[in-house]
C-alpha cells in the first residue's frame, strides 16, 4: 500500500517540510518518502519511540494531534450550543421526562429548574457558525473549525470522565489515546518525547488530573505521555546536576557509553546497545528541551498573536509550545486547562476562563494555518463532559447526555456544525457522537483502523475503542 501515492499528498508533505524543516532531522526526512510509515525506518533498538504498525490502514490525514482539554467540563450552553428555548424556560421546572432515571452528580435529590444561557450568542465568519459572544477569538476562527454539538459520554464525575475520554474506559490501567497513537505510529522526533502533556489553571475550581490520563497502561512504558512542567525543569531531571558543566556531563555520558559498549560485547546482550542509545537520547533531550522552551526565536507578531511572552505556564504559552512541539515531529500534545468546573457562577466563570483560553486557542489555529501545518495537525477542543441545562444555584452541574466540542485541521471539514441536542440542550438527538466514535475518528484521520490497532493483554485483544466506535465520516473533508 503506497500511502503517498495520492496526488496532493506528497506536495502537501513537502509544504510541511518546507515550513517546518528546522525541527526535522535526517531520520524524519527519510521516513517522509517511505511508503510504509513515517517512523518505520527507525531502528526499534535505536529509536526511542518505534512504530508498532508497519503499514497504515488508510491514507493518513493528520500526522499530529493537539488535544486542548478543557478540564472540568465546559458548559456547552455558554460556549458552542445556543438554546433560546432554555432562556424562555428560565426558572421553570425541567421536564421530568428528560431527567428521570438519568445519572446526576451534585444535583442529586434537588429540584431541577431550567437556567437560561448566561451569555449571548452570535453568528461568526462566512460560515455563520453560531457561538457564544464570550469567545470572540474562537469566533474569529469559525470558518476553520467543525463544531460538534452531539457528544455523549458515560461517566458523570471528573476523574472517571477524564479517564473515559482518554482511554475509552473508566477502568484504570488502560493506555491513553496519546499512548495508542505513539505506539501505533511512533514518533518522528528523536530528541523530544513523542507524547507531551502540559497544564494550566484558572477560571474555576481546579479539578485534579491524574497521571493515568496520559499513562501507557499495558503498552510499553516508553509510550507514556511526558508532562512538561511550568515550575522547575520542564521535563523532570532534564538538567545536569548543579556544578556539572555541559562538557562534563557529556564526558560522564561518553564514559558510561564506552564502558557499556565493552560490557555489551562481553555479554552479547542486545539490550546494552539499546541502553546506550537511550543515554544518547537523554543527553540530546538535555539540549533540545531548553531549545524548545526558549521562545526568543519567535517573531514579535507571533508572540502578540498568542498574547504571551512565554515562560509563564499560561494556556497561551502552552499553545505556542504545542505548535513548536508538533513542528518538531511530536505525535501527540495534550494541553489541559483546569478551569471549567462551574458549579456556581457560570456567567463569571466563563468570562474568566475566556480571558485565559480564548486568545491562545485561536492563535494556535491561525499560527498552524500560517505555518502550513494545520492540514496535517488535528486540533480538538473540548472537555470531559458538558453541563446541565438545569441550574445549580448560579452554576451548572455535570452533564453527559449531550455536550459540544470542536475540531479543526487534520482532515476535518472546516466551517460546519454537526449534530444537535434537543431544544433544552439535554440529550444529543441528532447524529450523536459517542466518545468511542470520537476515538475511532481520530485514529482514522491518523491512518489507523481503530478495530485493528490492538494489543493482547490478559488474554484479550484490547483497543482504544473497546468493542465499540464508528468513524464519523460526515465531519471529514
Amino acid at each position: 500500500m503506497n500511502l503517498f501515492h495520492q496526488p496532493g499528498w506528497l506536495q502537501h508533505r513537502r509544504d510541511f517540510l518546507g515550513a517546518a524543516s528546522q525541527g526535522l532531522g535526517a531520520a524524519a526526512l527519510a521516513t517522509l518518502f517511505n511508503p510504509q510509515l513515517w517512523a518505520s525506518t527507525t531502528d526499534p533498538e535505536k529509536h526511542p519511540w518505534p512504530a508498532a504498525l508497519s503499514t497504515l490502514h488508510y491514507t493518513p490525514r493528520a500526522k499530529s494531534v493537539i488535544f486542548l482539554c478543557m478540564a472540568g467540563g465546559p458548559s456547552h450552553l455558554e460556549t458552542l450550543d445556543h438554546k433560546p428555548k432554555l432562556a424562555e424556560m428560565d426558572g421553570q421546572p425541567m421536564p421530568a421526562s428528560l431527567t428521570e432515571g438519568q445519572p446526576i452528580a451534585q444535583l442529586q435529590n434537588r429540584e431541577l429548574r431550567c437556567m437560561a444561557p448566561q451569555h449571548p450568542f452570535k453568528r461568526w465568519g462566512e460560515s455563520g457558525q453560531e457561538m457564544c459572544k464570550a469567545f470572540p477569538h474562537i469566533g474569529s476562527i469559525a470558518d476553520d473549525i467543525c463544531i460538534v454539538r452531539s457528544m455523549q459520554t458515560e461517566a458523570i464525575n471528573h476523574d472517571p470522565a477524564h479517564t473515559f475520554m482518554n482511554t475509552g474506559t473508566t477502568i484504570s490501567g488502560r493506555p491513553s489515546m496519546g499512548s495508542w497513537l505513539l505506539y501505533g505510529l511512533g514518533s518522528e522526533c528523536d530528541d523530544l518525547p513523542g507524547f507531551v502533556v502540559m497544564t494550566s489553571v484558572g477560571g474555576g475550581q481546579n479539578q485534579p488530573i491524574a497521571s493515568r490520563q496520559w499513562h501507557s497502561g499495558f503498552l510499553p512504558s516508553r509510550y507514556q505521555g511526558v508532562p512538561f512542567h511550568a515550575q522547575g525543569d520542564p521535563v523532570l531531571y532534564v538538567r545536569s546536576p548543579r556544578g556539572v558543566s555541559d562538557s562534563q556531563q557529556r564526558d560522564v555520558v561518553d564514559t558510561v557509553q564506552q564502558l557499556s559498549r565493552w560490557h555489551g560485547q562481553a555479554v552479547e546482550h542486545p539490550e546494552i546497545a539499546a541502553r546506550i542509545s537511550q543515554y544518547e537520547m537523554a543527553f540530546r533531550m538535555q539540549t533540545s528541551v531548553p531549545d524548545l522552551m526558549d521562545l526568543s526565536d519567535e517573531p514579535e507578531h507571533v508572540l502578540d498573536m498568542y498574547g504571551t511572552r512565554g515562560g509563564d505556564g499560561s494556556f497561551a504559552s502552552n499553545c505556542l509550545l504545542a505548535r513548536r512541539l508538533v513542528q518538531r515531529g511530536v505525535r501527540f500534545v495534550q494541553l489541559y486547562h483546569r478551569g471549567w468546573d462551574h458549579h456556581g457562577n457560570v456567567k463569571g466563570g466563563i468570562e474568566v476562563v475566556s480571558r485565559l483560553v480564548d486568545q491562545g486557542t485561536a492563535a494556535l489555529i491561525k499560527d498552524l494555518k500560517q505555518q502550513g501545518m494545520l492540514d496535517d495537525t488535528l486540533v480538538i477542543w473540548g472537555g470531559e463532559f458538558g453541563r446541565t441545562p438545569m441550574a445549580q444555584g448560579t452554576g451548572r452541574d455535570h452533564h453527559i447526555r449531550g455536550f459540544s466540542l470542536w475540531m479543526a485541521g487534520g482532515g476535518i471539514q472546516p466551517g460546519i456544525t454537526y449534530g444537535a441536542t434537543d431544544e433544552l440542550g439535554y440529550n444529543a438527538i441528532e447524529d450523536p457522537i459517542h466518545v468511542h466514535d470520537l476515538h475511532a475518528t481520530i485514529l482514522y484521520l491518523m491512518g489507523i483502523d481503530h478495530t485493528r490497532l490492538t494489543v493482547r493483554h490478559q488474554g484479550r485483544d484490547f483497543r482504544l475503542t473497546d468493542v465499540f466506535g464508528h468513524v464519523v465520516h460526515d465531519i471529514i473533508a
Binding site: Q106, I156, V238, S260, E271, A274, Y279, R338, T451
Partner: protein
C-alpha cells in the same frame, strides 16, 4: 548447538543424532511425528480464532455452536466428525476461499488460521478430535519425575523435568555461572540488593561443598528477603498510600505492608497468609495481625469526589475486589465477566457477581473517607491497660470520701446557701476565620492553627486571617458567621473565683467542637441550621481564668452559632438540692451533690488534676495509636447481577456468594458462605489454581519469566506452560510442603537450571530466542525499587530499618501540581527517611514518585503480576540527574577516597568496582576512568565553586576533610559506575 565433546554433552549420544525439527519454539506445537495434544496444539487456536463467537459466552453464540465443548462440536450436525476431517464441516469453513463461508469471517477481526494451524486441526480430527479440560483447571496430581538417561547435570527433580525436555530437543544446558554472577544473582533475587563485598569475598574463597547452600540460607534468613518478596506481593494486591481516584488523598495502611514483610520473613504458610488477608477479621481467634492482614480488602481505589454517586461506586468497588482476588490467587481473568459471560474461559456473568457477593459484608462509605482503625499490638495493649489502671486508680481516690472532705462539703453547702453563687465573668468574644478547605469533612477535621496554639496575636493564611474582637455579640441569640467548607474559631475567657462546673447551651451551623483550657470536651459533626440549645454540656472550670475555644464548621449555605450559660451558672438540679434541707434529701440527691462538690472542691484540686492528667495521657496514647484500614462489617448488602455491567440497571437476579460454577460449589449447608469460606476454598488441597498460579509467579521471580509466561492469566488465552509437568510437580510440592514458600524457593535456587549461566551462544539464541527450553538463565534489568536500593547500598547511604509509615525521599518540586482537594505539595523528608529502601517510598497512585515510575514501578491502581521492563531516556535522566543518585555518587566518592587507599588511584578504582560491581576493573576501564577523573580534577580545581555546588547536592553533609575538587572528580567516576547497565542488570 554445542560441541559434543564436552563431558555433559554425552547424553546426546543416547538419542543419536539430535533432531532439530523445524518447530517453532514459541508455539512448541506438535512436530510432524508427535501426536496432537489438545491443550497444547488445538485449544489455543480455537480460543484465539473461534471462541469469540463459538465459545463459553452462551449469550453471544453464533449458530448455536460451541467449539469449547465436545458435545456441541461433535454432534449430528457434522461440524466435527472424529476420524474424518474430510467429512467435518469445520474443515470446509476454515479452508474456504469464499468470504461468506470463510471462518473466522474476515470482518470478525479474529486472526485467520495459518496453513500450519489448519493442518494441526486436520490431524487432530483425524486422530479422533479428543477434547481435554483446560490444563489450569484440571485436578492437580503430582507427575512422576522423568527418568533422564544422563543425570549428571541433575541436582534436583526440577532439573529432571528440564533435562528431559532438553534431551528431547537435543540442546545442552548452559554451564554453571561463575561464582560472582551466582552470588549477585542470588542476592538480587532473594534480597533485592547487591551482595556486600565482604560476602562476595567469603563466597569466592569458600570451596566447601555446602558453600552455596549456606549462602542461600543466609539470604533466606536475611530480613531483606521479606522486603524483596513483599515488593512483588504489593504489586499484586495493589498496595498504595493514597486512595487513587480524584483527590487521591493519603491513607494510612503501612501496617499491612509490614505484615506482608513479616509474613514472608517468618515464612508464614501461604494458605494461612491467604486466609488472613481475605478473611483475617472473620477468624475466630483474630488478633491484631489478622485484622491488619484483612486490610487487604480495603486496598482498592476509592473516591471522595463530591457529586459521585454512591451506587456507582459500590458497583466499582465490588468489581474491583473480584478482579483482584481472581487476579492474585486464581490467575484467571474473571474481570472479563463483569458485563457478559467470559469469551474464552468458562465463567459466567453470574459467577462474577456471585464472587462479588462474598465481599458484600464490608461496610464502607461509597463516597468519602474511610475510617482508620487503631491497631493494638500486644505491647500497646499492655501499655493501654496500664494507662487505664492509672485512670481507675485516680478515679478511685476521688470516689472515696474522707471525713475531712465531707466536713468541707458541709461548709461549702452552708456558704452557698448563705452567700449565693458568684457569677462567672465572661470575657469578650474573639473570632477568626473562615479557614477554607476543599470539603466540609476536611474543614471539620483539619487542625488549623488556632486549634494547635491559641494566641490572639497570631495571624494565618499570609496575614489574611486575624483575630477580631466581637464586643457586640450577645449571648443567648444566634450569631451569623461566614464561609463555605470552612471553619471559624471563637474564643473567650471565663473567670471564676473557685473551681466550679458551668452548664452551657450551644447551637451551631453546621458542626461544632469545643475545647476548655486546651482539652476537647465536645465534638459533634453534623449538618444543621443553628438553633438554641442544640448542645447541652457542662464544663469544668478551674479557679481563675479559663479559656473557651469553639470551632464552627460550615458546609454550604448559612453559618452561625449560639451560646448561653444555663441556669445562671449553677446547674438547676444542684441549686434545687442546695435549697433542700439536708435531712430532706434522698440518696440520689446526696450523691448528685457529692458528685458536684467533688468536681469543684478546691481541696480536691490535686486529686482531680491527677485524674485529668491520667485521662489526658490515656487520650494522647489512644489518639496516637498506629492505625490501618481494617474492614468493618455488617449484614451483607444485596448483590445483583448488573446486566452489561450497568449499575443503573436493577433488573438483574439477586445472587448469593458462590465460587465460579465450573470450579465447584461451597458446601456450607444453609449458612451463607462468607469470605472465610472463599479463602478456605482457595487454599483447599483440591483447588489446583492457586498453587499453580503462585508457583508460576515464584518461578518468574527467579527465572525472569513464568513457566507459563502469562503469569497473570492461566486461562484459555494464557500461554501453555513450557514445562507443564514441572509446574504441576512444583504446585504439588508447594501444597504438600504445607505451602512452604521458602522451601519452594530453596528448591528452585538449588537447581542446576537456576545456577546456569545466562550467556548463550549464538546458535542457542537463534534456536531458542525466548529461552523456552531453559537451557540458560535469564538476564534482565532490576526492578525500580532495586535500582534505588542498589545505588544507596553501594554508596553506603542506605538506612535499613524495617517497616513503619511510608517515607518521602527527594522529589522535584511541583510534581504534585495537578493534585487538588486539597492542593498539596510533597515535602521531602529529612534525615534517615531520605535513605530508606524503595518499597517504603510513599506510593501516590495518581503521581507515583517519578524515579520509580521511570523504571516501570506500577501505579498500583490494579493488580500487576508482571511489570514491564522498559528502556527509556527517562531512566538515563533519572540516574544521571536525580539528586538521590547525584548525592549517592558523591557519598560513594567520599567512601572511595576515605576507604579506597590513600593517594593510589588504582586501589581506589579497585575499591569502587568491588563495591559497585563486585569485580576488578579491566585495564581499559581503569584507563578511561582515570582519564575522566584527571580531566575533571583539573576542571574542578579551576572552578571550585562548581565543585562545591556539585558536592552540595542532597542533604547528606559533605566530608569537609576531603579536597573538594578531588571529591568532585571522583564523584564523576562514581556517577559513571552508578549509570552502568551492568550495575542495574541481574545476570
Amino acid at each position: 548447538m554445542r560441541s559434543l565433546t564436552r563431558s555433559r554433552g554425552l547424553w546426546f549420544i543416547n538419542f543419536g543424532v539430535a533432531i532439530i525439527a523445524v518447530i517453532s519454539m514459541t508455539h512448541q506445537s506438535a512436530a510432524n511425528e508427535e501426536t496432537i495434544d489438545y491443550n497444547r496444539d488445538i485449544r489455543p487456536i480455537l480460543s484465539n480464532s473461534c471462541y469469540a463467537c463459538h465459545g463459553p459466552d452462551t449469550e453471544d453464540q453464533r449458530g448455536g455452536l460451541r467449539l469449547d465443548l465436545r458435545e456441541s462440536a461433535v454432534d449430528q450436525s457434522g461440524v466435527i466428525v472424529p476420524g474424518h476431517p474430510e467429512d467435518s464441516r469445520l474443515m470446509g469453513r476454515i479452508t474456504s476461499d469464499m468470504t461468506f463461508l470463510k471462518m473466522p469471517p474476515p470482518d470478525s477481526n479474529r486472526p485467520e488460521l495459518t496453513e500450519a494451524q489448519i493442518d494441526l486441526i486436520r490431524r487432530w480430527i483425524a486422530e479422533g478430535a479428543e477434547f481435554d479440560e483446560h490444563w489450569a483447571y484440571t485436578e492437580l496430581s503430582r507427575p512422576a519425575v522423568p527418568e533422564v538417561s544422563d543425570d549428571r547435570w541433575v541436582r534436583n527433580p526440577i532439573d529432571a523435568f528440564i533435562a528431559a525436555r532438553l534431551q528431547q530437543a537435543g540442546v545442552e544446558p548452559a554451564d554453571e555461572a561463575d561464582r560472582r554472577t551466582l552470588i549477585r544473582r542470588l542476592a538480587f533475587d532473594l534480597t533485592g540488593m547487591p551482595p556486600d563485598p565482604e560476602q562476595v569475598d567469603a563466597f569466592l574463597a569458600d570451596s566447601s561443598e555446602d558453600a552455596y547452600s549456606r549462602l542461600v540460607e543466609h539470604f533466606l534468613s536475611d530480613p531483606r528477603y521479606g522486603e524483596r518478596m513483599a515488593q512483588y506481593w504489593l504489586d499484586l494486591v495493589r498496595y498504595a498510600d493514597s486512595i487513587g481516584y480524584h483527590s487521591d488523598n493519603p491513607r494510612e495502611v503501612s501496617m499491612y505492608r509490614d505484615y506482608v514483610i513479616r509474613a514472608f520473613n517468618d515464612n508464614l504458610p501461604f494458605d494461612r497468609f491467604t486466609i488472613e488477608q481475605i478473611a483475617g477479621d472473620l477468624l475466630p481467634d483474630a488478633g491484631w495481625e489478622q485484622l491488619v492482614a484483612s486490610g487487604y480488602n480495603m486496598l482498592l481505589q476509592t473516591t471522595e469526589e463530591g457529586g459521585a454517586q454512591p451506587k456507582e461506586y459500590e458497583a466499582k468497588y465490588a468489581a474491583d475486589r473480584v478482579r483482584n482476588v481472581s487476579d492474585v490467587w486464581m490467575g484467571v481473568t474473571l474481570a472479563c465477566a463483569e458485563c457478559h459471560h467470559h469469551k474464552y474461559d468458562p465463567f459466567t456473568i453470574e459467577d462474577f457477581y456471585s464472587m462479588a457477593a462474598f465481599f458484600a459484608d464490608i461496610r464502607e462509605p461509597a463516597v468519602g473517607r474511610r475510617p482508620q482503625t487503631p491497631v493494638l499490638t500486644p505491647e500497646l495493649e499492655s501499655k493501654q491497660r496500664e494507662l487505664e489502671a492509672a485512670v481507675a486508680e485516680a478515679q478511685q481516690v476521688l470516689d472515696s470520701p474522707t471525713p475531712e472532705w465531707l466536713a468541707a462539703q458541709a461548709d461549702w453547702e452552708t456558704a452557698m446557701r448563705e452567700d449565693g453563687f458568684a457569677e462567672p465573668e465572661l470575657g469578650t468574644w474573639h473570632s477568626i476565620g473562615p479557614f477554607t478547605a476543599s470539603s466540609f469533612e476536611e474543614a471539620h477535621e483539619t487542625s488549623f492553627g488556632p486549634e494547635q496554639e491559641l494566641d490572639l496575636k497570631k495571624t494565618y493564611r499570609d496575614g489574611q486571617l486575624k483575630w477580631q474582637a466581637q464586643a457586640d455579640w450577645k449571648d443567648g441569640q444566634p450569631i451569623s458567621l461566614t464561609g463555605q467548607n470552612a471553619a471559624t474559631y471563637l474564643t473567650r475567657t471565663i473567670v471564676v473565683d473557685q473551681a466550679q462546673r458551668l452548664p452551657l447551651r450551644l447551637g451551631s451551623d453546621d458542626s461544632i467542637q469545643v475545647w476548655v483550657n486546651g482539652q476537647r470536651v465536645l465534638e459533634h459533626k453534623v449538618r444543621r441550621a443553628v438553633a438554641p440549645d442544640q448542645e447541652r454540656l457542662t464544663i469544668d472550670l478551674q479557679a481563675g481564668e479559663n479559656q473557651l475555644l469553639i470551632k464552627i464548621t460550615n458546609a454550604g449555605g448559612d453559618k452561625g452559632f449560639y451560646f448561653a450559660v444555663a441556669d445562671g451558672g449553677l446547674p438547676a438540679e444542684i441549686a434545687s438540692i442546695l435549697q433542700t434541707e439536708d435531712d430532706q434529701r434522698d440518696d440520689a440527691q446526696r450523691a448528685a451533690l457529692w458528685e458536684y462538690y467533688r468536681s469543684v472542691a478546691p481541696e480536691l484540686d490535686q486529686a482531680r488534676q491527677r485524674l485529668a492528667d491520667a485521662q489526658q495521657t490515656r487520650e494522647t496514647f489512644n489518639n496516637n495509636l498506629p492505625v490501618s484500614l481494617v474492614p468493618r462489617t455488617g449484614p451483607p448488602r444485596t448483590t445483583r447481577v448488573l446486566p452489561r455491567g450497568d449499575w443503573l440497571d436493577d433488573s438483574g437476579a439477586v445472587v448469593e456468594p458462590a465460587i465460579p460454577d465450573v470450579l465447584g460449589t461451597l458446601n456450607t449447608n444453609d449458612r451463607r458462605p462468607n469470605r472465610l469460606d472463599l479463602a478456605h476454598w482457595l487454599v483447599a488441597p483440591d483447588n489446583p489454581l492457586v498453587a499453580r498460579t503462585m508457583v508460576n509467579r515464584l518461578w518468574m521471580l527467579l527465572f525472569g519469566a513464568g513457566l507459563s509466561r502469562t503469569v497473570e492469566d492461566l486461562g484459555a488465552q494464557g500461554e501453555l506452560p513450557t514445562h507443564p509437568d514441572l509446574l504441576d510437580w512444583l504446585a504439588s510440592e508447594y501444597i504438600d510442603s504445607g505451602w512452604d514458600t521458602k522451601h519452594l524457593i530453596r528448591l528452585m535456587v538449588h537447581s542446576a537450571a537456576y545456577r546456569q549461566s545466562s550467556l548463550a551462544d549464538e546458535s542457542l539464541r537463534k534456536r531458542d530466542a525466548e529461552n523456552r527450553l531453559l537451557a540458560r538463565q535469564a538476564r534482565f534489568r532490576l526492578d525500580a525499587e532495586m535500582v534505588r536500593d542498589s545505588m544507596l547500598a553501594i554508596s553506603g547511604l542506605l538506612v535499613e530499618q524495617q517497616g513503619g509509615p511510608s517515607v518521602k525521599p527527594y522529589q522535584p518540586a511541583g510534581y504534585w501540581a495537578h493534585l487538588n482537594f486539597p492542593s498539596r505539595e510533597w515535602t521531602n523528608d529529612t534525615g534517615v527517611s531520605l535513605y530508606r529502601r524503595g518499597l517504603y517510598t510513599h506510593w501516590q497512585r495518581t503521581f507515583l514518585h517519578p524515579s520509580l515510575l521511570a523504571f516501570d514501578a506500577p501505579s498500583r491502581e490494579e493488580c500487576t503480576a508482571r511489570r514491564p521492563r522498559s528502556n527509556t531516556p527517562q531512566q538515563a535522566l533519572v540516574l544521571l540527574n536525580d539528586p538521590t543518585y547525584v548525592e549517592a555518587a558523591r557519598v560513594f566518592a567520599e567512601r572511595i577516597l576515605r576507604e579506597g587507599g590513600a593517594d593510589d588511584d588504582n586501589q581506589r578504582l579497585d575499591f569502587a568496582f568491588r563495591h559497585a560491581l563486585n569485580r576488578t576493573p579491566s585495564s581499559e576501564e581503569r584507563q578511561v576512568l582515570s582519564d575522566l577523573q584527571g580531566r575533571h580534577l583539573q576542571e574542578f580545581r579551576q572552578d571550585l565553586p562548581s565543585a562545591k555546588a556539585l558536592l552540595s547536592v542532597g542533604d547528606w553533609l559533605r566530608d569537609e576533610d576531603l579536597d573538594p575538587a578531588e571529591l568532585a572528580s571522583w564523584t564523576s567516576v562514581a556517577r559513571v559506575l552508578l549509570n552502568l547497565p551492568e550495575t542495574i542488570f541481574r545476570y
